[in-house]
Amino acid sequence: MFAALLAAVALQQIDSLPAHRAPRTVVVDERLAADAGVKLGDQLIVSRTPGGAGDTVVVSAFMRRRADPSEVARAEYRVRMHLGELQSLIDYGDRMDRFALLSHPEQREGSALPSLTDSAIRRINGAAFGFQAHRSRDIAVETSQTFLVVSRFHRAIGVITIVASAIFLLCIMLLKVDERRRDVAALRLMGISAQSITRSVMVEASVVAVVGSVVGLLIGWIATLIINWHYRGVYRTPLAFALVTPQIAFFAMTLSLVLGLLAGYVAARRLVSMPPLELLTGRRDDRPSVAAAH
């Protein structure tokens, strides 16, 4: 029904009304109002086909689109009309596309809700003739398939990014620790144990990881603000495209901490596993080194 109407809405501002009938009111999508220059109080003709005969209506309000993912990429407009008027306009008779049922407020609390909704669905489906009742949640899942695909895609990209970051972290840690091989060699020659050195590198790695995680979280949060601002403008929707939830923040911080520590540990162990003289001179064999002895 809506589809037919969307194909058929013809907007026309008129100056006078037929004397025999007062126009009904409609609520117009704010996108449509912006694009077609419709203002509150404007009179429009709505018809089933473009240029066809129709009804005169008055714009009484604008409506904002819901944050519905399934509507995001669709550029269609919407109007809300009185039910009887629309049915008569498109010759629908006494037909509906769907009913939505809302349970009593007191029945929403506690564990009684699921069984009440289920039993209501069972009763309706048992008595129904030619239609079926569904949970709104199930409908939402069905219509969100597109975004489930997008979520899976994002998750795959996320996994690849994490793998790349882990390799990157390990490489950087290895480089930074390697840079100080002479210092480490001197410490080892002085008598500082491998464990102490490893601990010291781990402390350093954890500070870097913590600071890096916090900065990364901040950058991510700012990025979500920018993403939402941008795509809300592009798709003209109040939908939130990116969210940093406490769970996501916790996961990201934990993962980066763990990766940072792991990278630091691997780099440190690699360094302390080498004999101090080898660290100092770069020699792998155990020939006496005159140069090193000095």
Partner: protein, 232 residues
Amino acid sequence: MSDAPVVLTRDVRRDYHMGDEIVHAVRGVSLEVARGDYVAIVGPSGCGKSTLLNLIGGIDRPTAGSVTVDGNRVDAMRDAAATRFRLLSIGFVFQRFYLMPALTAAENVELPMAEAGLSTARRMERARDLLAYVGLADRRKHRPAQLSGGEQQRVAIARALANSPKLLLADEPTGELDAKTGAEMIDLLGRVNRDGTTVVVVTHDEDLARAARRVVHMRDGHVVDDHRQNGR
């Protein structure tokens, strides 16, 4: 020996800024080194001898004065020209050898020749000859990590001789070597000089200083004594 000096410094000075202080490392040194000579510059630590060597070699610029090597004003050269000049006319030997650890002994010797544009065959042959000259014919394919300190220094000398320089500058060449190996190095440097290369060494090593024909004493940036020895 021909008349024109290989090295000629005129009132050369070098000052360094260390924080708020100015350190006068070399204070007005005028020095001539004749072609084919063997000069040892000695003095206590911090007397400016290494700085003077660096100025002669063109790897440092004087604050004042002039430095002429083989008729060329090295202090006035731009970086690219000075680099090229060092490549073809001056050989450097350092206390810490400074060989490329990733290259073999032969490849280290070939490096300056490759830069000078010699063909691969020619520089491989010359590298072989030079390593034989310094007594390391059988160690050509070894990397520095597989060589002793003395062997590394020999490779460094071979590298310094790669492009048949007019002048060999050595900064504490025996500084990291034991007495026996140091003595071998002194012999080698003597041989290099006898074979026609002008040699200037900076050293604390008395044995090395004794092997030279001329000794220049420095103290506090000045030359305080300059004499020939051993009847040369």
